[in-house]
Structures are given as structure tokens and as C-alpha cells.
């Protein structure tokens, strides 16, 4: 186990290095000039050149890479061209909204989708199963922003139950914090409910056809115990994998939801940075995302041990 962990941690280093080099080069090769963007509409060519110089963008790419990568090795992600603040502090400020949204979304998704998927598998071919499949197709098909507008109109404007937009930090009070997260989380969770429910249904369905399920039923175990203890546990590996992917995707940014509900999260930060060609911020957040992906994958792999005793590292 420990050697597996050490190998996986060591393997993250080349991954991060490749990501760093690729991101750096791709940004320099794509069109767009941060200096021209910062200077504003009426700036002259000379003024833009002066700003480019002040940002260090007039230096050879290799020199720029050397400086940036040297700083990264010391834990310094640099300073945003756009906001004149450290990239680390920008990420730190955006982390709470993103983590909160991701956590609540996944909580709703798992609590709703897993039971739905299990019941659908149990009642395979019945009306519930068909209804769930229809809902899944709908969940995948409806664009997130359409769902967001419908929820805002009904829940916020017509019923007046929840705020339309904004984010309140947990430190400013738990209830306002939760109130501002409910609608965005429901909006986002629909697609994950559809996805996780389908995977759960398929996995449980497969497990229900196994001999040990027949044996469990033959022993006279209650059906709930058969479903949860035997079928669901054995079907857990693909479900956990899907949830893991969901965590990584949610932390990697949910731009549309963040934009509609005015949540200052990492997704919005990434898009703003890309639009402004804010190289240090883009590089910093992509490195951060890569790290999160690697970490989540590692956690998912390790979790397999708990669900499937046959797996050994």
C-alpha cells in the first residue's frame, strides 16, 4: 500500500511538469496580447510596448519560462497581470465558493441518484425504471443555464424563497451561506443525478444477476439488506469512479452556473484569466486543477480497497 502511494505521488511530478510546459507554451503561442488588453482601448502602440516590457513579456520565451518555473518550484505561482495580486491569493479566495458548490452538489447528487439507481435496478423494466431513464435523458439534455433560469423564475421571483444570485461566505453566517448555494447546487446536481443514477442502475443490475445475490435471497435476507449490503457494495467501484470524476469536474470549474448565479469561483476566475490573457493566473489555476485531478484519482483508487477486498496495492 505504502509503496503504491509513494509511486503514485512520485508519478504526479512528471505529470505536473508536462502540464506546466504545455500550458506555458500554449499560452505564448495563442493570439492575444496581455499588454494591449491592460492598456485599454485608447492606448497607443508605444504605450503597449512599454507595458509589455514592464510585464517582462519582451524577454525570450525560455527566459520567461525559467523565471516562472523557478518561482513555481519555490511555491510562488506569480502575480496576476490583470489584478496585481498573487495568483495564490486569487485561488485561495475562489476556493471556498467552488468547494462549497461542489460539495453540496455532490451531496445532493449522491443522496438522490444512488437510491434512485438502486430502485431502478431492483424494479428493472418497470415504470420507475423507465421514468428514471427518461429523467436521465432530460437531465443530460437540458442546458444548465435554462434550468437555472427556470429555477430563478419559480423559486426566487415567483415564490420569493431564495436569493437570485450571489455568494455569502460561511464565516458571515451559515444560513445565508446555505441559502445562496441551494439553487446553484440543485441546478448543477441534475446532470450528476442523471449520470450517477444511470451508472448505479447499470452496476447494481449487473450485481443483482450474480450468484451471491441468489444465495443471499435464498438465505432469507431482507430485500433491503440484499440490495444495500450485497448488490450496492459490490457495484460500488464504478459508482465511486464516476463520483470521483464528478468532484474533479466540479472543482475544475462550472463556469455557466457560476456566471448565472454570480458565484466568484475558480471556473469564473479561469475564464476571466483566459479572456484577459492573464498568463500567470491561467498557469497557476491549471497547475492547481492538475494537482486536484491527480489527488482525486489517487483517492478514488485507494477507496477501491474498501469496496472490493480483492483489490490489493
Amino acid at each position: 500500500m505504502w509503496s503504491f502511494l509513494a509511486r503514485r505521488v512520485a508519478a504526479t511530478l512528471p505529470v505536473m511538469l508536462v502540464v506546466a510546459v504545455l500550458v506555458f507554451l500554449m499560452l505564448r503561442l495563442t493570439p492575444g496580447d496581455p499588454a494591449a488588453i491592460l492598456a485599454g482601448d485608447a492606448a497607443s502602440t508605444d504605450q503597449i510596448a512599454r507595458i509589455r516590457e514592464s510585464l517582462g513579456l519582451d524577454r525570450p520565451i525560455l527566459v520567461q519560462f525559467g523565471i516562472w518555473f523557478g518561482n513555481v518550484l519555490t511555491g510562488d505561482l506569480g502575480e496576476s497581470f490583470y489584478y496585481k495580486t498573487t495568483v495564490a491569493s486569487l485561488i485561495a479566495h475562489r476556493l471556498e465558493p467552488t468547494l462549497s458548490l461542489a460539495t453540496l452538489t455532490l451531496l445532493i447528487a449522491v443522496l438522490v441518484a444512488v437510491p434512485l439507481g438502486v430502485i431502478a435496478a431492483w424494479r428493472f423494466g418497470g415504470w420507475f425504471d423507465r421514468a428514471l431513464m427518461a429523467f436521465s435523458v432530460l437531465g443530460f439534455s437540458v442546458p444548465v443555464f435554462v434550468l437555472a433560469y427556470i429555477l430563478i423564475w419559480t423559486v426566487s421571483l415567483e415564490l420569493g424563497w431564495l436569493p437570485v444570485q450571489g455568494y455569502h461566505r460561511m464565516a458571515d453566517g451559515f444560513w445565508p451561506y446555505l441559502q445562496h448555494l441551494i439553487l446553484p447546487s440543485i441546478t448543477l446536481s441534475v446532470i450528476y443525478i442523471a449520470f450517477i443514477a444511470r451508472v448505479t442502475r447499470a452496476s447494481v443490475l449487473e450485481a443483482l444477476g450474480e450468484d451471491y445475490i441468489r444465495t443471499a435471497r435464498a438465505k432469507g435476507l431482507p430485500e433491503v439488506r440484499v440490495l444495500v449490503r450485497h448488490a450496492l457494495t459490490n457495484a460500488a467501484v464504478p459508482i465511486v469512479t464516476v463520483i470521483g470524476i464528478g468532484i474533479a469536474l466540479l472543482i475544475g470549474g462550472v463556469v455557466v452556473t457560476e456566471s448565472v448565479y454570480a458565484i466568484p469561483g475558480l471556473g469564473r476566475l479561469t475564464v476571466d484569466a483566459v479572456l484577459a490573457r492573464d498568463f500567470p493566473t491561467i498557469q497557476g489555476v491549471i497547475l492547481f486543477f492538475s494537482f486536484i485531478y491527480v489527488l482525486v484519482n489517487l483517492c478514488v483508487d485507494l477507496s477501491y480497497v474498501f469496496f472490493d477486498p480483492r483489490i490489493r496495492y
Binding site: G32, D41, Y82, A148, P163, A262
Partner: protein, 535 residues
Amino acid sequence: MTISRLAAAAAVAATVLTATGAVLAQGDPKVLRIVPHSNLAVLDPIWTTAYMSRNHGYMIYDTLFSTDEKAQIKPQMVESWTESPDHRLWTFKLRKGLEFHDGKPVTSEDAVASLQRWGKRDGMGIALMTFVERMDTPTADTFRIFLREACGFVLEALGKPSSNVPFIMPKRVADTDAFKQIDDYTGSGPYVFKRDEFKPGDKSVYLRNAKYVPRKEAPSGTAGGKLAHFERVELNLALRDAQAQVSALQKGEIDIIEALAVEHYEAMKKDPNLVVPNIFNGGGALQHMARFNHLHKPFDNAAVRRAAIAAFQQEAFLKAQVGVKELYKTCPSMFMCGTPYASAAGSDIQAKSNMKKAQELLKASGYDGTPVVIMKPTDLVTITKLPDVAAQLLRQAGFKVDLQAMDWQTLVGRRAKKDPPDKGGWNMFLTAWQAADIANPITMAALESKGEKSSWFGWPSDAKIEELRAQFMRETDEAKKKKLAEAIQVRAFEVGTHAPLGEWFNVTVGRKNVTGWFVTNGNIYWNLKKSPPSH
């Protein structure tokens, strides 16, 4: 739990949610919540020409002079001033009681240092500094500007209302290299920047400057008394979605949307809880503009540029881009209609032309079929349709067109390139300007005709325009300045520096309980008040 208990629990939850939702939507009358037209990134309004940075500047800084709604220059921090008979010595006395947010008095040294920094970045400031021999500060409240020769725009420059505005900063801040951003935001304006609450891309907060002494005159444009009625002004930088902005305004979670998406205009006008104030000068708020690249074929030929201008009938652009008739108007002038230098001089090539004329002009120009590379920004909703109209009109006139889609920031980077269009350069882009930035021949960047070295993107070169602009700068007689502005415009249409494509109004919308709106050139938030919501 029985069904009835469940229903009761749901009813209680709904009541609690409704009550707390209503509380959240209640607007504190001492707090103004605004969704600005764009994100606020750069906090130094001298370092960038971005309008958001300018608006941020107006909140926290004060100016020596200001421009009223009739484009007249009025004193602001200045109490009195004199001009020598030969127009070469200007003496300014500051108002009493001016104080920076840190409690230190505003002195003449602060004013001079601020002007020096601004004079290195702003187009009009740079032009003014070519006349300035020196500036001195005989007393703490008096400063003098010594000119090498008479200059006709000293007050216009000091009171200019748009980017870059000569805001007055403490000397220690103004001494910062003009090409480095400041990191001390101490001003002397009606609001104090709350730096610890500034979260980039999230919110920007301003608190009332209790020590600010406003002028006695009524507010008008950027001039007059700046009465700060709110204890706190919050810019919501996170709310970007147009539909969500409208929903938040209707629910009362925000008080003002600076730039309403045009498609919501009719609905907002009919909403009894909202108001669409006419805060912009009657002359129009913004102007669309097509810019030619004078360095490369086919627009290195003035006759080809004139053919394009002849094809560009303004109504077509305005109808496609703005759509709502009451929000746009055609205007033959390069300077905004309704402002002092506006005229129809020389505009016949566009105003009295038609497609047949454009086709004839193009035929006679010797156009060789070189495709026109038009850069189309897909993400800037206020101008994104203009390139499609331009492409269609140019094709009708006989041009070959290569319409290239890109995001605005790519366009901004690419337009600075002087390479030929087939090597990453360009032939044309379309943009929009606020009235204040194109109100005279000095501030209008598109009229600069100094060639490749220092003109604005497109780099026209014309000695006659530059000579006329130089005369305009030196002229102190207003009637003669108007004649010179007309002559510059005539010449600009002759050589085809650019094409004006009509004027349109940005729509600002607010809750009905926000009052005190006045005509201005941009979005500034003094004099406004808010009564407690009635519902």
C-alpha cells in the same frame, strides 16, 4: 410522520424561506448596489484607459476642473484661476478644506505631481505637456503652469471627463512611474475605496467620505456638487449574466444595472418597480466606428477608403446592432452630435451617398481585388453585429471580404500588429467610443495622423490633419476652434481616417426607489438617493 404533518412542516419551511428571502431582497437605503458594465481589474485610472478604471477613479478621486452636461468646463477643486493676456501663464488657487482620505490636506504640490504623471500617459495630457515649460507651487494652495506658447485647451485638458481623467492624487502616489501601477488608493473624492473588501472579479466597495466638502452648484455632467448620500456603495463584479442581472434587479437584490442588454429594454421600461433614467447627454452616448488599416492594401489607398465610407450607411449598422429605434440615431459628424464641435462638414461622402455611388467610387479607385480582412469580435455584444453588416455592405460595393471571428481580447492584441493581413495583421475592425472621448480633435484618437510611429491603431499619416490639429491646439478663440474642427473633419473624410457609424445610447436601469439621477457622460454615483422599498 403523517401526510398532514409533512404538509405543515413544508408550510413552515416555505414561510421561513419566503421571509428570509424577502429580508435578503430588502435594500438598505444607505447601501447602493450596482452591477457595472464590466469587470474592474486595474485600479490605476492613469495607467489604463479602461472605462471601469475611470469610473472607479471618479468614486475616490477629485479633479481640478470638470465638464458639465453642456460640455462646458467648470471648476471643481479649483476655487479661482487667472490667465495672463498672452495666454502663457495660468495660475490656479485650490478650494479651502480639500482633504485626502488619510486626513492630509490637498496641496498644490499634489496637484502638480498628479498632472505630471497624467501628462505622461493621456493623449491630451501628452499634448498639453508639449506646451508646458514648467509648473511651480508658490504657495500650498496655489500652482502655476508656464507655457512656452499659447495653448487653446488648458482647461479642456484639466477638466476632461473621460479616459484618462487627470485625477488628483497625493504627491507620494503621483510620483509613481507613469508606466507602473499605483498601489496606494488614497484620494480626496466623495467616496473612500475599501481596499480590504476589494475582491477581483467579485466585488468592489466604497464608503462615504464624511469629510468631503462638495461644491454648492447642482451636479451636472462630472461638474457641480458631489453629494455622497450612501454610507456604502457596492459594485457587484460577479454578476455577468444579462438575464440573471435583470432577475436580481426585479427582486431588489441590486439597485442599478449600468449597461442593460438591449433585448431587456422594453420589458424593463414597462416594469412599474424600475426606472430607465435619461442620464446621458442628449447628443448621444456612444458612437460606433469603423477603423481602416492605412498601412496595407487595399486601405493604403484613400480612394478605396472613401468608397468603403460611402458604402457604410449608418442606419444599417444601427438597426442591426441596437435595433430599438429610440436608442440610436444617425449623425453625420465625426464628433458626437450635440457637442460643441459637431458638424456635417465634409460628410457628404457618407451622409449623402448610396451603394451605387460606393460602387462607382470603388471602380474608379483602382481596387485590385485584395480581400479585406475584417476582425469580428464574437464576445462583445455591443459591437459584435457591426462586422457582419460592414462585410455585407463592402461585398455589395464590390469588395472581397475575409471576415475573421475571434474574441475581443484577441482582436485587441492583433490590432496592435503592423504586419500585413496575410501574416497576422488586419485591414479593418469596428469599435465604439463614449462621447467624451471623441468630443474634440485632440481627444479623438482616430484623428491622429502621425503615421506608423505614434498614431492610434490603423496608423493614418496626413500632414494636413496634423497641421490643423496643431493649429487647433494653439487656438484660444472658440469660434476659430470650431472652424478648425470643421476643417479637420473635412480633411478626415477626404483621406478616410475612419468611418463614423452612428450613435446609440447605453441603457442604465435602476429600482424606482433610487432617485437623484442627472445627466452625465458616464456612470457616476454621487447625488443619488435611495428610499426604503415600499413592498
